[in-house]
């Protein structure tokens, strides 16, 4: 089948006199690009993947109908990787390469980290402190919520302090939330809304949600935020965004204090050098590491920005815990593809110290159309099967924090190369006992709710069968000490004065909140810092 990605852009040569070169067009890079282009800087964005033009019909079909491949064309020779840890790490399920980055596929839950997340070491003697506090980031969180068009309500008693309403009204709770509410009330568990980067009404020239129910991996209506919005705005403000431009190394000057070029290869096989005054790495938590390590030089044999030796270390994920089953009543699942209630009541507990948040799912159990396409029969028999299978499923999810550990890391697998001949990323990851204990705690709370509600539990995801939520954090950590961290509190590398890192790789700890609002807030702050250095 024809692909929507194309090589339509033909001129992929470097921009002369660029002020800023950004590598990666996901939200981390696109937000920096938009801000700096709007302030008058000459900005070029180099993006490894394609532009997915046109409507999202092909991705929708690929998602719903078996036999059409993956929606965002991930997993070819370009995307080779090695998983070497105790737990297999399915990297290509957890990222997208293209204009918009992984937000093309994401779910779009966006919440702020809690105050304690910035000071876990001081408060609890675990993990690390951030060099910045929640108060430092607070105005940028508010700005990030405006940028992403977050729909939310100020109804969460456990959320950190905020000074303003959300830009869009929250999505009302689902019918199944109302079923959970009765049980949670008896258990004294407070439910509240979920901030969502998804239009509850028209916003920013994009449609309101129309209920396709396929948010992850594709929103055909454009209601779900993707970083394509910021790419578009950056381009209108004069930025040049080059797709199919794979940056393979960064070169530095003789003194080793500045980056002088980003070297990239285009589909015609040509290799180009983009020069600029400032460089922003925004390739996601795995490829940021890879590019720094691929940029090793005589002066920096262990890779760029790595005099500390910690580039790649402290890889963290959020772990999923879940439980579900069937109820004796209709539960009305799979109408929409996002959740409308969570509880953050247990997030700040010190036993376990790992953050944990609980989700009430709106997409438990099967979808009849998807089941029909996999069924081995049709006609009346199929109809009966589908009607029996659908209707009474109910489930909860949870995300659990994993603390930073040096033995979870990303490095280069020098034995394996991609289609350009460059070593691929190796993810070495396992789930430690402390995280397992926190997963067990999440299951315990879920079990109490299921029991109170009278659910016949059919499945549990917990310590022994957990999986990652695809949040790649911690691998170029932020800190004040150049001996133990990669970037400073402004996200600028300690070693090279014009190299900045955007994205969740700078998180010293990851809490248990989905990371992208924090990524966006840090990008806005980083753009301001670069702006301050411009003539």
């Amino acid at each position: 089948m024809m692909s929507t990605s194309n090589h339509a852009q033909t001129d992929r040569t470097p921009v002369s006199d660029a002020d800023v070169c950004i590598v990666g067009a996901g939200p981390a890079g696109a937000i920096v690009a938009q801000r700096l282009a709007a302030s008058g800087a000459s900005v070029v964005v180099l993006e490894a993947g394609p532009r997915f033009d046109g409507d999202r019909r092909e991705q929708l079909e690929r998602h719903v109908r078996p036999g059409l491949g993956t929606p965002w064309e991930m997993g070819g020779p370009r995307d080779e990787f090695t998983s070497s840890g105790e737990s297999f790490y399915p990297l290509n399920a957890g990222r997208v390469k293209g204009v918009g980055g992984t937000t093309l596929h994401w779910q779009g839950m966006v919440m702020r980290l809690h105050e304690r997340d910035f000071e876990l070491d001081s408060r609890h003697g675990v993990g690390a402190d951030w060099p910045i506090s929640y108060t430092d980031l607070k105005p940028y969180y508010a700005a990030a919520e405006r940028e992403l068009g977050v729909a939310g309500a100020v109804d969460n008693p456990y959320a950190p302090p905020r000074d303003e309403a959300y830009p869009l009204p929250a999505f009302p709770p689902s019918y199944s939330d109302s079923l959970f509410a009765e049980a949670c009330e008896r258990l004294e568990i407070d439910m509240h809304s979920v901030p969502s980067a998804r239009n509850s009404e028209p916003f920013d020239g994009r449609s309101p949600c129309v209920g396709y129910g396929t948010c992850k991996p594709v929103c055909p209506s454009g209601a779900k935020y993707t970083a394509e919005s910021h790419v578009e705005k950056a381009e209108s403000a004069g930025a040049r965004v080059v797709d199919h431009a794979r940056v393979r190394r960064l070169e530095h000057d003789e003194s080793g204090t500045s980056v002088v070029a980003a070297v990239y290869t285009t589909p015609d096989g040509e290799t180009h050098r983009q020069t600029a005054d400032e460089y922003v790495l925004a390739c996601g938590g795995v490829e940021n590491v890879r590019l720094l390590l691929l940029s090793a030089s005589d002066q920096y044999p262990d890779g760029l920005a790595n005099s500390s030796g910690v580039v790649g270390q402290y890889f963290m994920e959020h772990l999923f815990a879940g439980m579900g089953g069937r109820l004796d009543r209709p539960t009305r699942q799979n109408h929409v593809g996002f959740n409308t209630s969570e509880t953050h009541q247990f997030y700040d507990d010190s036993e376990p110290v790992n953050g944990l948040k609980l989700e009430f799912l709106n997409y438990a159990g099967p979808s009849p159309v998807v089941d029909a396409l996999h069924a081995e029969t049709w006609g009346d028999e199929l109809r009966t099967q589908l009607a029996d299978a659908y209707g009474t499923h109910i489930a909860m999810g949870a995300l659990v924090e994993q603390l930073p550990r040096a033995d979870n890391y990303v490095t280069l697998d020098t034995e394996t190369t991609d289609d350009l001949g460059d070593p691929v990323p190796e993810v070495h990851w396992s789930v430690d006992d402390q995280t397992r204990a926190a997963l067990a705690r999440a299951n315990e709370i879920q079990a109490s709710v299921m029991d109170e509600l009278g659910v016949d539990v059919e499945w549990t995801v917990g310590p022994d069968n957990t999986g990652p939520a695809f949040h790649h954090m911690g691998t170029t950590r932020m800190g004040t000490d150049p001996e133990t961290s990669v970037v400073d509190g402004e996200c600028r590398s300690h070693d090279l004065q014009n190299l900045w890192i955007a994205g969740s790789s700078v998180f010293p700890t990851g809490g248990a909140m989905n990371p992208t609002l924090t990524i966006a807030a840090l990008s806005l702050r980083l753009a301001e810092s670069i702006q301050g250095r411009m003539p």
Partner: protein
Amino acid sequence: MRLTRRDAIAVLAGLGIVGGGAVAIDRFDPPTAESDDGDRDDIPQAVVVSTMVAAGEVVYPSETEGIREFVEAYVLGRTRDEERGAQLRAAAAELDAVARDWHGEPFSDLPRDERDSLLRELGADTADPVADGTLSERIRFHVVNELLYAFYASPTGGRLVGIENPIGYPGGTESYQRATTAETEDG
């Protein structure tokens, strides 16, 4: 339960295809190809439509009415995508050819239970759907799954199994809040 042209257009709209089936069938009959380069451009649309309708009568629940109107509109919209349209037409024509070979009749003239067993004998019930695969895989993809998608991604088909706003159908943000299945699309 009656399917309508409107249901088909709703599913097509969800797929980004507008105005499916608004035009009469014969408009879509491609001119008879002179060349015989095997690209199956010469397959009459009427054969494609009648074969798909006849297959719809097998794969849809027996109480379904309005299958002809629904499938016609859906197939016409669907075959506007050149590559997919050509593959779908070819798969339908092959199914028809097998029926003529084995039973001496067009697929659409066979009694319903014979159509059902023919599809099963071809392995279309258990084959993986593959757009350019073996005959059974192609029939599963372009005939069986195309028809099942159209049916169960439509509000009318979905309602029959309990969900009036199925995945793939932009049925709004009211239904997820309601306790019961709405009787009609609008209320």
